[in-house]
C-alpha cells in the first residue's frame, strides 16, 4: 500500500497555493475579505479508527471531535461541518445520527451539508470537513517555535490509550479512561485563548512525541521533552503507574486531542497547561528523564 507520507508527497507537488500551507499544517487558511477561514478534512475508517463493535454514537462524536481539535489548534471558532457518510444498516445509522446530533449540540456547531454513498458490503469510511473562523491573526501554525521557547501541553496524556486497552479487554464501562478514548474533548476554548500568545501550536492526535517532532521539524528547531513532566491523570496512574515506561507509552500513543504549544518564557500562559520541555538548538526531538537524556523509542507515535 502507498504510505501516507508518499501520497502526501505527491499532493505537495500539487498544493502550490499558500492557503494550503504546503500541506505541512493540520488546516488550510483561506483569506476571505478581511476574515481568515480555517478548513480541515479528516477521514475515519472501520477497522482502522474504530472497532467494528464500537458504539456508532461514539464514532460520530470522535469524527467531529477530531476535526474540531484541528480547528482548536488554529484558535478558530467552528462555523460548521459537512459530512460524508457511507450508508449501512439500521440501527447503526440511526445511532450514528443521534451521536452526531449530540456532539454538534455539545460544541454548538451546525451541520451544513454533505453527501451519502451506498455501501457494497465493505467496511465503512466516513469523512468530515470542518470550517472555522480565525479569532486571531496570524493564525498559529506548526512553524514559528523559537529557541528558548517553553513547550506546554494541555490536559493529561495517555488516558485514551488506557481507555482503548480497557475497552479491548472487555471493560467498556471504565468511566473517564474509556470516555477519553470514545469522546475526546477538543480544546476549542483553550485554543482561542492561546492563539494570540503562542509561537507555534498543534493538536496532539498521533502521540505527543511524534507530534512534537513534527512541530520541531516544521519550525526547523529542536524540541527537548522531559518525560518526568508528562501530565498523567490519577486514573491513568492507578491503571498503569507513573514509572518511566508508563510515561513513555502515554507520550507515544494517539487520540489525546490536547494542544501542544511553544511560547516565550516571559508570557503568562492563559490556560491550564503543563510545562513539558523547551525549544532548543538542533533538529528534531530530544528526550529526557529529568537530567538524563534517553534514546528515542523506535516509534514515536501512531503512523497512519
Amino acid at each position: 500500500m502507498t504510505t501516507e507520507s508518499a501520497f502526501i508527497g505527491l499532493m505537495r507537488a500539487i498544493a502550490f497555493d499558500p492557503a494550503s500551507r504546503g500541506l505541512l499544517d493540520d488546516c488550510a487558511v483561506l483569506s476571505i475579505g478581511s476574515e481568515h477561514l480555517i478548513l480541515t478534512h479528516d477521514m475515519m475508517a472501520e477497522g482502522v479508527h474504530w472497532l467494528s463493535n464500537a458504539d456508532p454514537a461514539d464514532v460520530a462524536w470522535k469524527l467531529v471531535a477530531s476535526n474540531l481539535s484541528d480547528l482548536a489548534a488554529k484558535g478558530a471558532r467552528p462555523l460548521g461541518v459537512l459530512l460524508g457518510f457511507m450508508l449501512g444498516e439500521d440501527p447503526w445509522d440511526r445511532q450514528f445520527a443521534d451521536g452526531l446530533k449530540e456532539v454538534l449540540v455539545r460544541f454548538d456547531v451546525p451541520l451544513l451539508g454533505g453527501d451519502t454513498v451506498a455501501n457494497r458490503g465493505d467496511k465503512r469510511a466516513l469523512g468530515l470537513t470542518a470550517i472555522g473562523l480565525a479569532t486571531f491573526v496570524p493564525v498559529p501554525a506548526r512553524t514559528g517555535a523559537q529557541i528558548g521557547d517553553l513547550v506546554y501541553v494541555t490536559g493529561t496524556l495517555g488516558d485514551a490509550l488506557a481507555g482503548f486497552e480497557l475497552i479491548e479487554a472487555g471493560f467498556d464501562e471504565m468511566g473517564i479512561l474509556a470516555d477519553a478514548y470514545n469522546r475526546p474533548e477538543p480544546r476549542l476554548h483553550e485554543g482561542q485563548l492561546l492563539a494570540p500568545f503562542v509561537h507555534a501550536m498543534m493538536d496532539v492526535s498521533d502521540g505527543l512525541l511524534l507530534d512534537a517532532e513534527r512541530l520541531a521539524s516544521a519550525s526547523k528547531v529542536g524540541i527537548a521533552i522531559n518525560l518526568a513532566q508528562i501530565p498523567l491523570s490519577d486514573a491513568y496512574v492507578s491503571y498503569r503507574g507513573d514509572a518511566l515506561e508508563s510515561r513513555m507509552q502515554a507520550a507515544s500513543w494517539g487520540d489525546d486531542y490536547q494542544l501542544l504549544f511553544a511560547i516565550q518564557p516571559e508570557v503568562d500562559v492563559p490556560v491550564t497547561a503543563t510545562l513539558i520541555g523547551r525549544v532548543v538548538q538542533g533538529a528534531g526531538l530530544f528526550l529526557f528523564d529529568g537530567d538524563q537524556q534517553l534514546p528515542l523509542p523506535p516509534t514515536l507515535g501512531y503512523q497512519h
Copy 2:
C-alpha cells in the same frame, strides 16, 4: 441498507442552521463578513461511482468535476478543494494524483488540504469538499422557480449514458461520448453568467427528469418538460437515434453535469442553452412529447 432519503431525513432534523438550506440544495451558503461562501462535499465509491477497471486519472477528474458542478449551479467561483483519500496500491494512487493535478490545473482550482486513510482491502471510498465564493447575491437555489418561467438546460443530455454503455461494451476509445462520461466539464462560466438572472438553478447530475422534479418540488410548482426539445449531440443521435425512447433515456440518466434553470420569459438568456419546458401550476413533473402528455416513467433518474 438505510436509503439515502431516510438518512437525509435524519440529518434534516439536525441541520437547523439557515446556511444548510435545510439540506434541500446541493451546497451550503455561509456568510463570512460581506462575502458568501459556497460549500459542497461529494463522495465517490468504487463499484458505485466508478468501475474497478476505470482509469484512476478519470476517477480524480470526475470527483473534482462533480463537486465543481455543484458550485457552478450557485454561480460560484471555486476557491479550493480538500481531498479525503483512501490509500491503495501503486500505480493507481500515482495515476490518481496525476489526474487530480490535471483537473485542478484545468479549472484553476487549488488543492488546500485533506486527509488519507489506510485501506484494509476494501473497495475504496473518496471524498472531496469544494469551497467557492458567490459571484452574485442572492445565491441561486432550487427554490424560486415561478409559474410562467421558461426552463432551460445547457449542453446536451445522454452523452455520458452512451459513453458508459460503450465503455462497458469494451469500446473505450469512443471519443466524445466516453469523454462525456469520464471527464465531464462543470459549467462554471455559464453558472456565473446565469446567476444574476435565474429564478432557480441546479446541476443535472442524477438525470434531467429526476432533477427537474426536485427543482419543482423545492419551488412548490409544477415543471412541464417537452421531450421533443431535449438537446441531443450528433454523436448521441448517431449511436441511438432521436426517437422518443432514446430521448426518454437521455433525460433519465445521470452524470450529465449540465445546468438546469428557470428564468423569466422576458430575459435574454446570457449563455447557450436549450428551452425544454416551462414552470406551470401544480406539483412535480409533467412530461410531454410535443403537445401530447406522457405518463411518467417508473424511475426518473439515478437514485443513489
